[in-house]
């Protein structure tokens, strides 16, 4: 499985360059604020930044140690970086909001869900319905990497997220995951 990480982003491959929010160039943004109210504002802004950055670059996994060197948490221009402790605090906020899941007990790697599985499921189902493909069976690969889905937002969706999205649809009765000889497939209703 190919995990794209924060540091491996090839910025040339992104059509539109990422727009940093004003906080990104505000030096104190990279210091965890002692004032409780100010910290709330700060964390909200960090969560928003992490999610939109991952969304823009289609990133799904983050390695915490690598993250410290990524441009998101390390603004070389103003010579400020978020400490590992502070990054953990931001990630905990994201986890509480349901946008992040730890992959290991040590909290060294995590999944970033800038779009939740239910939301992905909805997008996929919309595409299926729009093209009148209800009652057709797809392999997972066809959905995420097929020519037909090229240009759709869920094209290139990583397997683990795709499965969760389909599980969400299954729970809503809109799809059924099928086990086939060479892998999994799905039928939409």
């Amino acid at each position: 499985m190919f995990f794209r990480t924060l540091t491996a982003v090839n910025t040339a491959s992104t059509a539109m360059s990422f727009e940093w929010p004003w906080q990104y160039n505000f030096p104190p943004f990279f210091t965890l604020q002692p004032n409780v109210d100010t910290r709330q504002k700060q964390l909200a802004a960090w969560c928003s930044l992490v999610l939109s950055y991952c969304r823009h670059h289609k990133l799904y996994t983050v390695d915490v140690m690598e993250a410290q060197e990524s441009p998101v948490f390390n603004n070389k221009k103003i010579e400020r970086k978020l400490s590992v402790e502070a990054i953990q605090v931001v990630f905990e906020e994201l986890r509480k909001k349901g946008n992040l899941e730890w992959l290991d007990k040590n909290k060294s790697r995590c999944l970033v869900m800038w779009r939740r599985p239910e939301e992905w499921g909805k997008l996929i189902y919309q595409w299926v319905s729009k093209n009148g493909m209800n009652n057709t069976v797809f392999t997972l690969y066809e959905l995420s990497n097929g020519d037909d889905t090229d240009g759709e937002e869920f094209h290139g969706l990583e397997d683990w997220m795709l499965q969760r999205s389909l599980q969400a649809l299954q729970a809503e009765g809109k799809a059924e995951i099928i086990t086939m000889d060479d892998g999994k497939g799905v039928k939409f209703f």
Binding site: W22, P27, P28
Partner: protein, 233 residues
């Protein structure tokens, strides 16, 4: 052969010449004094004419006041130098700035518990204008700066810190007589507590404090209402 200039006769002659020169010098000085007196008289009456013509203007028009102050500076005159005398009596300039100084002190004292004695020149200007009411004379930021400079000279604990093209006005009651670093520390703690300042611990040896509102000004961006909400709780 006889040499001229030497001998008792020569000395006496010399003395006479000196006396005559001295007399001439006195005459010259007297001339000059008379001349200068005449000039001063003219100057004085011109000033009085100027004063009566422009007194109203000076009190009413901030722009005119700036130009007047600049003119005075060019000829080496400080119209606020003393409470008595031509400038304050004839023009009432001293009164104007004195009254303004009092207003400034009132505003700063009233807000001290909230801002720790630090206020931007902009906010001070707004509040002074509000306090003066609709029918009072207009006051410019230049007026405030001059009034504060005068307050400083009188030792009332006022100071101005240049920040990004404008000023922060700092007021410390004279009787406390605090070291300015202690005051700044208190202000910083206060600002942090109130959520007005953000802490930057990566600035170097000492922690730094940033005011988001000033940062927005420094980066010359228009702050959207949403962004303004993101800055302070």
């Amino acid at each position: 052969m006889h040499r001229r200039g030497v001998g008792a006769g020569a000395i006496a002659k010399k003395k006479l010449a000196e006396a005559k020169y001295k007399e001439r010098g006195t005459v010259l000085a007297e001339d000059q004094i008379v001349q200068m007196s005449k000039q001063l008289e003219t100057f004085k009456s011109n000033l009085e004419e100027f004063a009566s013509k422009h007194k109203q203007e000076i009190r009413k028009n901030p722009q005119f006041r700036v130009q007047f102050q600049e003119m005075c500076a060019t000829i080496g005159v400080d119209p606020l130098a003393s409470g008595k005398g031509f400038w304050s009596e004839m023009l009432g300039v001293g009164d104007f700035y004195y009254e303004l100084g009092v207003q400034i002190i009132e505003v700063c004292l009233a807000l001290k518990h909230r801002n720790g004695g630090l206020i931007t020149l902009d906010e001070l200007h707004q509040r002074v204008l509000k306090g003066r009411g609709k029918y009072a004379q207009d006051v410019s930021q230049d007026d405030l700066v001059r009034a504060i400079k005068k307050l400083k000279v009188m030792g009332s604990g006022f100071g101005m810190i240049p920040v990004g093209g404008s000023y922060l006005v700092q007021s410390v009651p004279a009787e406390l007589n605090m070291d300015h670093t202690v005051v700044l520390q208190l202000a910083e703690d206060h600002l942090l507590k109130e959520g007005l300042a953000w802490l930057d611990s990566q600035a170097g040896a000492e922690a730094q404090y940033w005011l988001p509102a000033l940062f927005a000004e420094l980066t010359s961006r228009d702050v959207t209402p949403e962004e303004a909400n993101q800055m302070t709780p």
